[in-house]
Structures are given as C-alpha cells and as structure tokens.
C-alpha cells in the first residue's frame, strides 16, 4: 500500500430486505474490507441492518460537476408526471404483509374490473 491518505468510501445501509440502501455518510479506509468493518462500527453500532455497502467515492459520477446533466422539471413537463394511477395503497399493503405479486395484481384488476 502506498503512503498517504486512505481513500474515501461512501457508506450505505439497508434496514430490511425490502428497503433501498440508504446513504448514511462516508469514512476513510485502507481497503474495501476494512471500509466495511469501519462502516459497521461508525454507523451501525446501535441499529440493525441486513446489508452494508461501501463504495469508493471516486467510482461515483456526479451530475453536479456538469450542470447540463441536471434535470429541470418545470410546469411544461407535466405530461411526464404519472397522474391518474393510484397504485400507492396497493404497494403499501404489499410491503406491509408480504403479498405475492400475483395477489397485488389480482387486487388491482379486481377493483378496476
């Protein structure tokens, strides 16, 4: 390993199997395995997670460096907003009681049919 500062790793934790990995902060570490160990101790001493990700910061391409890449959603793009669908309650129930995808579909088509 070369001398100098350790690389920065961004840390993500997943609270349960259905949750997204959520960014919680960053740490420095000598290598990915140590980064995982440090992430566990720095961010997850008091809470349970089912998974931890560490991502080398320089592996992340950020849009903020090139403002042209940043989306500008204005009133004129209303046609892109998915209004008219009301699936949210179904998904909430799906998450809450582990229905199968078929049951969700049945429920949705049943209500509409």
């Amino acid at each position: 390993m070369s001398q100098g500062e350790y690389p920065v790793y961004e840390v993500f934790g997943q609270k349960d199997r259905l949750a997204f990995h959520t960014h919680v902060g960053s740490i420095r570490a000598a290598n990915p395995e140590m980064a995982l160990q440090m992430a566990r101790e720095a961010f997850f001493r008091r809470e349970t997670v089912v998974d931890i990700w560490v991502v080398p910061q320089d592996a992340i391409y950020s849009a903020a460096q090139e403002p042209a890449y940043l989306p500008q959603i204005g009133e004129d793009k209303k046609y892109r907003l998915p209004s008219g669908y009301d699936n949210a309650p179904h998904w909430k129930r799906f998450k809450a009681r582990a229905m199968s995808i078929e049951e969700v579909a049945e429920e949705m088509t049943g209500k509409r049919g």
Binding site: M1, I27, R28, M38, E41
Partner: protein, 253 residues
C-alpha cells in the same frame, strides 16, 4: 446444583470474565490515541463489547454466590484475579497492540468453542451473543495483522518484533486454571489441545501473511495469572481503575 459443581463453575468462569475485563480496560487506554479516527471508533466499540461480556460473566458469578460485579472489580485483591498475565501487559505501540489482540481473539474463539461442551444453560445462553461479537473482533484484528505484515518495511518489522516480544508470555493463556479431573468433568478439552489448535490456526495465517514462525511457545513461566501469580502490570491497572473509588468510595456514577 451441588456445592462441587458450583465451585467448578466459579473456577471456570472467573478467568474468562477477568480476561475480558482486563482486555477491555487495556483497550480503553487507546481511546483518542488510535492511529485513525475510524479505528478509534471501532477499537472503542470492540472494547466496550469485551467489558459487556465481562459484566455478563460477573453477573453469572454473582448468581453462583460470588460478590456482585462492583465488588469483584473494585474490591478484589490482586492475587484473586485469574486473568492471564498475557492480557495484563502494557499495550506498547500499535503493532504490539494488534499482535496481542489478534493472539487473544484467536484464543478466545477456540475457548468459546470448547465452552460449548459445558452443560450450564445460563452460560450457553450468553455465549451465543458473545460468539457473534467475537467473530467480528477476530476478523478485525486478523485484517490489521495482514495489513501491517504486508504494509511496508517498517510496519512489517514492528509486527515481527512485537511477535517475538510477546511470544514467551503466551503460555498462561491456555491454562484453564482447573484441576485436571474437574476440567474433564466439565467436558473441557485439555489445555494442550487448546494450545495445539491455536498454533495450527495462527501458523496457517502466518504462512498466508509470510510472517516468520517463532517456534515452540515456551512453557516455563515465572508468572501464571490463572494461579494468581501476576506481574506488576496488573497492580498498575487496578490502581488506575480504582483511583476514583479509593478517593470517594460512595460516589455515584
């Protein structure tokens, strides 16, 4: 539970609790001084775990008729402590700390496996949680060993020097501190088997890390913590640990 079994369990658990407590205390001495911020957090957290394990075991001892944990820690004479001299020695530099902690964690893993044979439910219950945490501790210090062993000339030299320095002080770690018949009765493997298993595991990892093997572990030791024959280092620890207690015995924490 008959008197004899109770005595055997007290004699079995005391050295383990004392090891964990002293390791925890020595670990706390690095607070704010570890080589990096992240390690400072991890190192403190690991040693909090160790103190937690010790507390669990001291409470078990209390249930078996021993004084309460505070009395065991703050009022017990030095000669009644049963931790290995190996864990009471001063920390030294970071490489020496890593070497000591790696050696201890490997030993602790094998000891925990051996303890699974002991038929005492409250112990078995606590061991489950302890084992999960210790598995992480071992991985952490093994990774540090690997990084230092392969991290350039100075780191490597410091690890090799530290190994050579602690090698002659290892042997009381493997002593159960029990009479042979009691040890067999509890279902525990002999100290020699524990030591052999440790040598096998550590030697294999030393090979991976290309560290020179220091040879046989010397067995003759002037001191033996399991018999209460400690080095002056334990006095130092207890004096520091009890400083506030001595000034103000009734102070609330």
């Amino acid at each position: 539970m008959d008197h004899e079994t109770r005595e055997a369990l007290i004699r079995l658990i005391t050295p383990i609790a004392d090891d964990e407590w002293i390791v925890g205390h020595r670990g706390s001495e690095w607070l704010g001084l570890a080589p990096e911020l992240e390690e400072d957090l991890a190192f403190s957290s690991i040693h909090q775990d160790e103190m937690g394990h010790a507390l669990y075991l001291y409470e078990l001892l209390h249930d078996l008729g021993e004084p309460d944990p505070d009395a065991l820690v703050y009022a017990r004479p030095v000669a009644s402590w049963r931790n290995a001299c190996f864990v009471e020695a001063a920390n030294g530099d970071w490489a020496a700390t890593v070497v000591r902690r790696y050696f201890y964690e490997m030993f602790d893993r094998l000891r925990l496996e051996a303890l699974a044979h002991v038929d005492f439910t409250p112990l078995a219950h606590g061991l489950k949680k302890i084992q999960r945490e210790e598995a992480f501790h071992l991985k952490h210090f093994a990774l540090w060993m690997e990084m230092l062993a392969q991290g350039g000339d100075e780191a490597r030299r410091r690890v090799i020097d530290a190994v050579a320095a602690v090698w002659p002080t290892l042997s009381d770690l493997f002593d159960w501190g029990l009479r042979d018949d009691v040890q067999a009765q509890l279902g525990l493997p002999p100290a020699l088997a524990l030591k052999d298993a440790w040598v096998r595991e550590v030697r294999a990892q030393f090979q991976d890390w290309q560290l020179p093997w220091p040879g046989e572990i010397p067995t003759t030791m002037e001191h033996n913590g399991r018999a209460g024959r400690h080095t002056p280092a334990l006095d130092d620890i207890l004096t520091t640990m009890r400083a506030v207690r001595v000034i103000a015995p009734e102070s609330a924490w």
